[in-house]
């Protein structure tokens, strides 16, 4: 088992390097040299050239990339073009807001989506099943930013119950959490339903019924336990999607998280800031997928046995 964990962690390194390379190359396509971006449009060309030289911008692409990686290993993601301070500080300041938002949204999504999915599957073709299936269809088509605006309109402007922007108290988080979780709630509901339907039809479920186990035992002990694996993968993947969705949600509710930071940084062409945030989010996503893989092995005795042998 330990060997498997180590192997998975080692395999992550090339993926993360590739992620950094991709983001690095894309951001390199942006017009303008760092010297020009830091000093502004009016600065004399000589000063810009000198600064570019100091920052190592005139080196070949691969050399710059290698230096960037080496700096990252030392924990240095470069300095912001705008403030001149290390970008990682700002990223770490903003991270808790995004984490709070997406973790709560995941919890909300799982605690509502999974039970509804199970219920729909158990009572397939009932009125309730149709109702939930149709709602899921609608929810999946909702743009998060539009839903957020509608929530602000109703709960902040009309009813005056909740604050529409900022992150000072827990009440500020209620609407963003609901907004962020809704589209993914739909995904989780649908996928839980279909995996449950698949397992309910398996032979071992029929056997359990035949030997006279109660309906509750059949559903929770025999069916759900086996349906859990795909559901966990879905939840892990949704977390990654949510980190992206948080950009829009944070913008709508002006939450000071990583998402708003990325959007502001992109507007101001503060490239080191954007890269640090995108890389951090992608690395977090790969770690979550790693944890999902490990959970898989921990839950499923078949997979566990496979790695014990090898």
């Amino acid at each position: 088992m330990l060997k498997f964990v180590l192997k998975r962690i080692l395999l992550m390194i090339p993926t993360i390097l590739l992620v950094i390379l991709i983001v690095f190359s894309i951001m390199n396509l942006a017009p303008g040299s760092p010297g020009r971006l830091i000093l502004g449009q009016t600065a004399p060309q000589e000063a810009v050239d000198q600064l570019n030289e100091e920052l190592g911008y005139n080196n070949p692409f691969l050399v710059r990339f290698a230096n960037y990686i080496l700096d990252i290993c030392k924990g240095d993601f470069g300095n912001s073009y705008r403030t001149g301070r290390p970008v990682f500080e700002e990223v770490l300041n903003r991270l808790p807001v995004t984490l709070k938002l997406s973790t709560c949204a995941i919890i909300l999504m799982v605690s509502i989506g999974v039970p509804i999915g199970i219920l729909s599957a158990v009572k397939q073709y009932s009125a309730m099943d149709y109702f939930f299936t149709i709602s899921a269809m609608f929810l999946a088509a909702f743009p998060v930013f539009w839903f957020g605006l509608m929530m602000i309109l109703t709960f902040s402007l009309h009813l005056g119950w909740l604050p529409s922007n900022g992150a000072e108290t827990w009440r500020h988080y209620i609407m963003p959490i609901i907004t962020l979780s809704l589209p993914y709630l739909a995904i989780v509901m649908r996928l839980t339903r279909s995996t449950m339907l698949e397992t309910i039809r398996q032979d071992y479920v029929r056997t359990a019924r035949a030997k006279g186990a109660s309906e509750k035992t059949v559903i929770f002990k025999h069916a759900l336990k086996n349906a859990l694996l795909p559901i966990i993968t879905i939840i892990g993947m949704t977390f990654g999607l949510m980190l992206g969705g948080a950009v829009l949600t944070e913008t709508v509710f002006s939450l000071p998280g990583l998402g708003t930071m990325i959007v502001t940084a992109i507007r101001l062409k503060d490239i080191p800031q954007v890269m640090a945030a995108v890389i951090l989010l992608s690395v977090m996503f790969s770690f979550i997928m790693l944890i999902v893989d490990l959970l898989y092995a921990a839950i499923d005795p078949r997979i566990k046995a496979m790695y014990k042998k090898g």
Partner: protein, 292 residues
């Protein structure tokens, strides 16, 4: 000649069969009708309301008028007719959705079939890259590309296509892996058919079902992502009437003119929903065994 005719009829009857099954699916039909209505308005947008006169020309005297018989969806903060902007915006949104999906399918098909067909090192290389790209949340990747390339419709399409290519690559690769060792492929190879021709003539036609389903669903995703990017100011720049851009402009007037938020949002939801419904229906119609 006769043989050609025979395959022709067979092809037609297959399409007819799929259409017959699809027609029975009420949800898919509702989706198709909604898409057709939006497509109709998008195609004839210029004939219904001139772009220059109604969709972009500012008219401060008529600003923020609620829906009336003259302006059925009201006017926005610059006095422009919301209905005219919506139908011209539909033109942009639908074009973006369809064109970027086509681009993603094209590149996904090339990469996916290369990976699946050749296997080995090429497969390993392509799979590694797709895995890495899939680690970056799609909207962030699109944001990076959009910010590097700048605003504009073409750049927005490039940005959102790139983030969808890995998904298609994966689907197509997995389909091709199952087809690669079939006898008829071996037969084609033994006749000395070139790899490109085998992929194009013998493999891709068999992979078309899953591709169509995935593509229909992707259009809905693309419309949502494009609107999202425009909403945060990284997509279609004002004064062009994209739905996301309209929502972002309407945000200022949320207090006095909530209808400005309602209509573009409803358009996005209806379109995204319809393409999803149609995709679901197509999946069932193309492969009835998959239906649960």
């Amino acid at each position: 000649m006769e043989a050609v005719n025979k395959t022709q009829t067979k092809k037609n009857s297959q399409i007819a069969e799929i259409w017959r099954r699809l027609r029975k699916n009420k949800a898919a039909m509702i989706g198709l009708v909604i898409i057709s209505i939006f497509a109709f308005f998008a195609i004839f947008a210029e004939n219904i309301a001139s772009y220059e006169e109604f969709a972009v020309k500012q008219n401060i005297r008529e600003r923020l008028q609620p829906p009336s018989s003259e302006h059925i969806f009201g006017t926005d903060g610059y006095g422009r007719d919301v209905f005219a902007r919506l139908i011209h915006g539909g033109r942009i949104s639908l074009t973006i959705g369809i064109v970027s999906t086509a681009v993603s399918v094209f590149f996904g098909a090339i990469l996916g079939s290369m990976a699946g067909f050749y296997g080995g090192k090429i497969d390993n290389f392509i799979t590694r890259i797709t895995d890495a790209v899939m680690c970056i949340p799609a909207i962030l990747l699109a944001l990076c590309v959009a910010s590097a390339l700048g605003n504009g419709m073409i750049n927005l399409m490039i940005a959102i296509s790139i983030s969808q290519i890995p998904g298609f690559t994966r689907v197509i690769r997995s389909v091709i892996l199952t087809l690669r060792d079939q006898d008829y492929i071996r037969a084609a190879r033994s006749c000395g058919t070139s790899d490109a021709r085998i992929i194009y003539k013998h493999i891709l036609p068999n992979a078309i079902g899953p591709i169509i389903v995935q593509a229909t669903m992707a259009i809905s995703d693309m419309i949502l992502t494009a609107a999202g990017l425009s909403f945060i100011g990284m997509g279609i720049a004002p004064p062009q009437p994209e739905w996301g851009t309209m929502l972002s402009e309407a945000k200022e007037h949320i207090r006095y003119a909530p209808y400005l938020i309602a209509f573009p949002g409803i358009s996005i939801v209806l379109n995204a929903l319809s393409f999803n419904l149609l995709g679901d229906g197509l999946r069932d119609a193309l492969d009835p065994r998959l239906k649960d």
